[in-house]
Symmetry: C2
Subunit: 461 residues, 2 copies
Amino acid sequence: MNFQQFERIFKPRSIAVVGASSNPSKMGTMFLMALHTVGFPALYPVNPHEREILGLKAYPSVRDIPEEVDYALISVPADKVAAVVEDCVSKGVNAVAIYTSGFSEFNDEGREKEKTLVKIADGKVRILGPNCLGAFCLQSKLNLALGSVEEGEVSFISQSGGNVETVANLARKMGVGFSKVVSYGNACDLNGTDFIEYFGEDPETKIIIMYVEGVKDGKRFVEVTAKVSKTKPVIILRGGTTQGGSKAAASHTGSLCGSNDIWNAVFKQTGAIEASSVEELLATASAFTHIPKLNGKNVGMVGIGGGAGVMAVDECEKSGLSLPTFSPETIDKLGEIVPPIGTSIKNPIDLSSYAQFNPPLFGKAVEIVSKDSIIDGLILLYHNMSYIPGLLQEIERTTLDKDLSKPAIAVLEPAIEIEEIKEGHLRVGVPVYNNLAHAAKALCNVATYCERVKFLKKHAI
Amino acid sequence: MNFQQFERIFKPRSIAVVGASSNPSKMGTMFLMALHTVGFPALYPVNPHEREILGLKAYPSVRDIPEEVDYALISVPADKVAAVVEDCVSKGVNAVAIYTSGFSEFNDEGREKEKTLVKIADGKVRILGPNCLGAFCLQSKLNLALGSVEEGEVSFISQSGGNVETVANLARKMGVGFSKVVSYGNACDLNGTDFIEYFGEDPETKIIIMYVEGVKDGKRFVEVTAKVSKTKPVIILRGGTTQGGSKAAASHTGSLCGSNDIWNAVFKQTGAIEASSVEELLATASAFTHIPKLNGKNVGMVGIGGGAGVMAVDECEKSGLSLPTFSPETIDKLGEIVPPIGTSIKNPIDLSSYAQFNPPLFGKAVEIVSKDSIIDGLILLYHNMSYIPGLLQEIERTTLDKDLSKPAIAVLEPAIEIEEIKEGHLRVGVPVYNNLAHAAKALCNVATYCERVKFLKKHAI
């Protein structure tokens, strides 16, 4: 991998948009508009039939652009792509992203067309796609309709363009910000492994998440992922985990998905973390963002409600977390402040309606539990609390001012968005989730990763 | 079971609220207020220290109430409950719900106290609880703070009072309406099985859902559930499926949860349906409400987006549904209307951005698929559509006017609430879900149930 070449994919100084036109419903035009709107500086629309698009001078071909071109977005019919790539080689373009589909995901003829593209590019121009959206980077304003995404330290590698949209749309409310995103589609040249390797070295990326349908270079994928996983968490969501899903993936990106057995071995060997849904992927990214270190899987839980607590423990244990028995000192201290009847001071703590009438009780219980040496992390279970006006705010105020000693997450169920609660918690490093199953899995993933990294260091692996 | 006695629990002509007071933060007062607010006709507050509460005459004891009392809500300290039950026996009260906790869920002494209550009641007064909220019925205005719950044909049996609130709060947005709800807590007298039996006979109940931590009368539970399941779906969410959860359940309702192996056998033998979360419980209730009959598990899916489709198939197959290959005629007809490149007309159908620019394409594809004899049901996958203004509305308008021939559900992801879309779909019998995993599981549950009922009928079991 040439680090500079990859760096320039995400931070191009200039971009040609081939296939932009005066028709606003064409993808090329949408790309141009998105880049123009955020103020990307050097934009060159390419279209032989237009002289100006969105007020920008249009060029008949990439060759005709008078300035240097680092990156080209190609959205022209499939049989015209090869000629554009040829132009890009002549022009000395660093990389192209081909949006056009109708290649290996479509039929054998398309597969041959892809091979031709790779031959023409000859390693001089690197290809993203075809059948992809290409690269995104907020810092460089290479922002293709990522909506309200925030900057952060997560980078996302997606074989699917649509899933970039899905992830982008959910990320903000899950407390995840992005450094870079790439949709790489059919991967005729650059593939997922290349981007894992690059993000592994990229100092702006601390956490790598991935949506993948198929891997073509199994051996290299395992080597690179294992190496990168030692210093940065790599969280992978697979598409095509079932027979039907894997058939659908073949039509989608022309991928062979690989069996679950093989993948299980890959996860074990590389230390990459598996997520089973987009929500779990983002919850885990959020946990790594806000809780970079967790010493173990023993959690203490504080909440209101017995049935809610029972189901919460079930979810925690299913995800791999444990709720150990508190020390006798902890039990004693809790017994001094929590009334005995209708409550529980075992783990999980159920403060019942007492915390409704005395919200500071919540924070006091949390503080006591956080001091117990058996506890590695805390879960604040805000179950049904949003129905009592002001209760959550009061519990937040009287809990987050405590020294919690241990990493903590909060779970706000049912799933509602209370922006100021989420922000207030994030300010003190407590991510808020709307689904306990995802939250517990995310926390467990952080613990597993930390444990592995510690083990590898200890044994100098 | 005496049907009339149970009927009167849910449709009492008069209620005594023992422990109501002028203190608005006491549960007794809250019960009284809730019933008073919805206009329950014959309400009798009982409190020896007050003469009037909320403008209603208060009585020193249940015995002093001059009119007949069908139902008493008891919220007094644990050591005073027995005397109140004695009063209720003298007065000839039909049933009492004991909110007070501190009984078998608390310690051995509490367990003895419970036994005393049963002895005093002597089968003349039936007991709900202790440690419960008792009965709810919208039709009879026995509505204890169920919020914005709608009337419907689902009845809910819950061992946890808090989960009544959780379910009630989620039900409306999931298209579920209730006939009756009961929280039965420690179940010292009436237990979950009694209510399954009653709802099995109740003509106003068509679907039974349950949250249970432990069952005391295993043999009778199996017999009753198997019998009721023949005519009404019984959907059960268990609390305490893990070791930790089961320990928490012991402190919560004093329950022994039973092993997963035993429960698996129970589900198989009785035909009851297992739900693994509150969301899955309600999604299944919603599916049975709107799709009473489904001939099999073969679904056809229509959507926009390749990666979304791949993951959707994975979820469907994990839940037990299949996405079979369409017939050659279906493929031909789809091929006539769906452009070939960047799309898929295999199952699932990915209309890609073509449906964005030509929304009626969606309904046309759905109609073609619905006519394929291999397809039992349809899933309309509205993935990321809400980001394009008016698109969903246009697809709704041009899809729901078609003769869909087969039962259909819609999945609107990411999870957003668009009230008019949900209502528009429900009007033509298409429930809308915000989570594909729950939706697929719910649809599969309906198919499994219908298949079993057909089998039992065929073999006259």
